[in-house]
Subunit: 416 residues, 2 copies
């Protein structure tokens, strides 16, 4: 095949009803007719369908078996691949749908959160060579026993990039309901900028920090297999695009690329814990055993004997986490534990931080000027995160975005 | 395996919602606990689901590709197998769902009306041996290319009997929304009798004559592979059962087993057609080419040169059929053609007719006593069908049922 091969993935809202599926099909047809590229389409379930199926399962039994849940939930994408293939054929594009089984997407056996092991692209390549546009079910796979698995939320992004990698595709386009990746949330900052490029490391920090555009594993796959990855809007595909590229391919390197936030965490503090070598591991092992996801961890107030330890967990886990910690208090001989749910995390991200100093100082100053108290700080090579009182989170985002805004030329105006 | 193996099939209304699926699961669990039998469950899509999916496809494109339609429609049973497996596990019966692909149900490539070629029962047998109750998706299969196919309406009955044959099962139970096969429609005759036994030939005549209890191909399979087949109610499983058995296994052989009817046909008559050898084949070849299903055919009024030919077609095909015939009139040099939609077909069926004379006379007399004109007659070895004016169809059914009623002992009173 000398023609280019590209993968186009449409998420749940992009295929939310038949009209939207037909719209997505037209985008695919336009691309094929304009460029001569071979296109492989990857689709999610129609928005709401996965939740409907899970509710149906839970109305049958409170604890559905994960294997059977995956058999059920995977029907969501199976409906969409058929509709998308029909919509493509209806406008003159020969198409053929592929379940995960037919596309030979192999995963491990972890039902409901499986990971892709391998894709044998022979069937897809054969369809492409015979002039058909394959339409592949995202989010699902087949394990070594032929059982149906699903990849967990956001899994269709992973399918798309993994299919692109297996086909050695020239690019992977992720169509979603936003125009791309913004310098911050346009709903919070009216002068948020659409970023024409971000590098993988920045995208990973932004995704895990709450910018829910791409599943982090899809970014890892794109980085590992060197697949150019684009994010753009299904509804306004001409209004912008963000390419996720290697750091060395960035056209410019602003110090701060984006300001992100999350408001779904809570802070737990253990006060005056004696500093025994095993104390911290006891706490975090117990939390890990209970599947509590830990985000930031800080230790303060160390006086040689005792210390305060704070960490953040998902708000929904905070009761469970506090109970686990409280149960350990006697054993740890700490003074007590408390939970603060009125916090938000605000972060500045930028690969340029690697080469510039003074970012932290500038960030803290911006927050201080607004009178916002910083409760916790956590940093990585390309990120600074601070915990602030939840009521100030929008103010904090705007002040940080403004503080670093002048580093970058406005490229595309964000939607209001 | 020394334990008996039985197949239990639940149709769309029997699995119409989660409550009904749980009810069906309890029937399975009770059977297993009382008998020690190994049970294989076959399920249809939840009632209404197949139509919903077809409507969704047609809202996407007026002529969906049959391959993609099958990918879509097959999700209906996939949801039910998962729910049924969950419901069984919820009441302590280890279960495992099987799509057609996993159950290795091979079909030909006729999408939307495929026929089962073969079932490799190895996967099902393995599950049974490991103590699990397999739950198999009815109505669907996989062709030699790994494409998903469906068997057409009523196909889950065929799956059930084919699975029973592949497993050399001891019996196949078809659970439906009636208590079994009646001597006629209980809604028309309050003294309709539930038949404890009918033979395969009778069941085939009754099914094709409009008693919509079992798909004819499932009866053929049961006959060919010698699978005892039972029809009973999911909702009142203790209120009766009809076994479909070999003729020689019938405990008694009433002359007339049942009275059936259909009201969805129309009669087309070609008047004064010259009797050329090729005339009839021209007519019926043209109709076959247009996929018009022909039921009864009679030829009357032959005077040596010309004859009247009447035949019945499905009412929904009657306009198309009349047009085809009218187009042929000049070529046939017939006088003309007409269509009568005000007809109904009433039939008496019974394997005992093979050994008794006088059934036709008794039937015609019963109708004459009610002043019902007979417009057309068609007979087979075990069946007499007559066409009557549609407005009299209920009267005709009741009079025939009464005329032959005394031949049989009432066994189970029909529901009102």
């Amino acid at each position: 095949m000398t023609a280019r091969v590209v993968v186009k993935k449409f998420g749940g809202t992009s295929v939310g009803d038949v009209g939207r599926i037909r719209n997505a099909a037209r985008l695919v047809a336009d691309h094929i007719r304009k460029t001569g590229d071979k296109v492989v389409v990857v689709v999610s379930a129609m928005s709401g369908e996965t939740n409907r199926l899970i509710s149906l399962a839970k109305s049958c039994t409170p604890n559905p078996s994960p294997r059977e849940l995956d058999v059920m939930v995977s029907t969501g994408e199976q409906v969409t691949i058929a509709l998308m293939a029909m919509a493509l054929e209806d406008i003159g594009i020969g198409a053929k749908s592929f379940t995960a089984q037919q596309a030979q997407i192999s995963t491990d056996k972890n039902f409901t959160k499986a990971q892709i092991r391998d894709i044998d692209a022979a069937n897809l390549a054969k369809a492409i060579q015979s002039g058909l546009t394959p339409v592949v079910a995202g989010f699902q796979g087949i394990d070594e026993d032929g059982d149906i698995t699903t990849l967990g939320r956001g899994g269709s992004d992973i399918t798309a990039v993994a299919v692109a990698a297996a086909l050695k595709a020239d690019a992977c386009y992720i169509y979603t309901d936003v125009r791309g990746v913004y310098s911050t949330d346009p709903r919070i900052c009216s002068n948020a900028k659409l970023l024409p490029q971000v590098c993988h490391e920045e995208m990973l920090e932004m995704a895990s920090l709450g910018a829910k555009v791409l599943h982090p594993r899809s970014v890892y796959f794109a980085m590992a297999y060197n697949i150019p990855l684009a994010v753009l809007s299904t509804f306004e595909p001409d209004k912008g695009v963000t390419w996720i590229v290697k750091e060395e391919e960035l056209m410019e390197k602003p110090i701060v690329t984006g300001v992100t936030y999350r408001t779904d965490e809570a802070k737990i503090t253990i006060s005056k814990m004696p500093t025994e070598p095993s104390a911290l591991s006891k706490v975090f092992s117990a939390l890990a055993d209970a599947n509590v996801y830990i985000d930031m961890i800080t230790q303060t107030g160390f006086d040689g004997k005792r210390t305060d330890v704070s960490f953040t967990v998902l708000d929904e886990d905070s009761h469970k986490a506090l109970k686990i910690v409280n149960d350990l208090i006697p054993q740890l001989r700490a003074e007590g534990a408390s939970c603060d749910r009125n916090i938000a995390k605000v972060s500045v991200v930028g690969v340029g931080m690697k080469y510039h100093t003074g970012v932290a100082g500038k960030a803290f100053e911006a927050l201080a000027q607004e009178g916002i108290e910083i409760q916790m700080i956590s940093t990585s090579e390309i990120k600074i995160s601070v915990l602030v009182p939840k009521k100030y989170w929008e103010v904090a985002v705007r002040s940080l975005h403004s503080a670093f805004e002048t580093d970058r030329e406005p490229l595309v105006e964000a939607a209001a």
